[in-house]
């Protein structure tokens, strides 16, 4: 399944990418699975997701928890806790 991944703030700086399209392996079912898989893709991903417990996730532009299923997601974003306002 092809899905668009987006990275923001220090997650973007560490992966070195703002966004990319990836073909997900079939056994990636939840956000936690996805993070685990991303960390195998290279040292920059490992660094970006080292503190994966603090990283927030949105599926199709809605906040989700890390146990959320990613079935049929078009767009998944990873970012630090928000600091606007």
């Amino acid at each position: 399944m092809n899905v668009k991944l987006l990275y923001f703030a220090w997650v973007r700086e560490k992966t070195g990418l703002g966004e990319e399209v990836v073909d997900l392996p079939d056994d990636v079912a939840t956000v936690t699975d996805l993070v685990r898989w991303l960390k195998t893709r290279g040292p920059e991903y490992e660094a970006a997701f080292e503190r994966s417990d603090v990283i927030r996730t949105a599926i199709d532009q809605t906040h989700v928890a890390h146990d959320a299923a990613i079935a049929n997601a078009q767009e998944i974003a990873f970012f630090p806790p928000v600091t606007g306002g």
Binding site: H63, T83, G84, G85
Partner: protein, 153 residues
């Protein structure tokens, strides 16, 4: 109404536009967030606001909708800037209008508490000493502030 923009805004004209031609409003509350010139005691020269285009607008609309569902607001406005800003410049404006002040006050505070913990913006500070800029850390107190709204009175 919500707006996400690079440009600065004029607080007075925003409020004037919101109340123009209306005689039913009894209370208007506004909050303006501005760029501080220091971070953890060190002077900063600039702050950059990154955001998630698309989700930002959706979140702000959702938050505004929730405020309007909880309080009898006659008008509401959220403006949030993105991009580079200098110390002293405006970052965010929230305006609420209602027949009586309590609702406008509470709704404005609610909007800010929810915005600060839910809207996908990230601040990066550039330090005057030339050190690499730092991403601002989220504050526990902001999360606590949001939680107190969880159960409607």
């Amino acid at each position: 109404m919500i707006r996400v923009q690079k440009e600065n805004f004029d607080i007075g004209s925003e409020i004037e536009r919101l109340r123009a031609g209306r005689t039913d409003i009894g209370a208007i509350v506004s909050f303006t967030g501005t760029v501080r010139d220091t971070a953890k005691g060190a002077p900063i020269t600039q702050m950059t606001l990154e955001h998630y285009p698309g989700m930002t607008e959706k979140e702000l609309e959702r938050i505004e909708g929730e405020a309007n569902a909880r309080w009898p607001l006659q008008a509401s406005l959220i403006i949030h800037r993105t991009g580079a800003m200098k110390p002293g410049e405006n970052i965010v404006l929230v305006v609420t209008a209602s027949p009586h002040r309590k609702d406008a006050f509470e709704a404005a505070e609610f909007l800010m508490d929810y915005l600060k913990t839910g809207a996908p913006f990230w601040k990066k500070e550039e330090r005057a000493d030339g050190d690499d800029g730092d991403w601002v850390d989220a504050r526990e107190s902001d999360e606590e502030a949001r939680k107190r709204w969880k159960s409607p009175e």
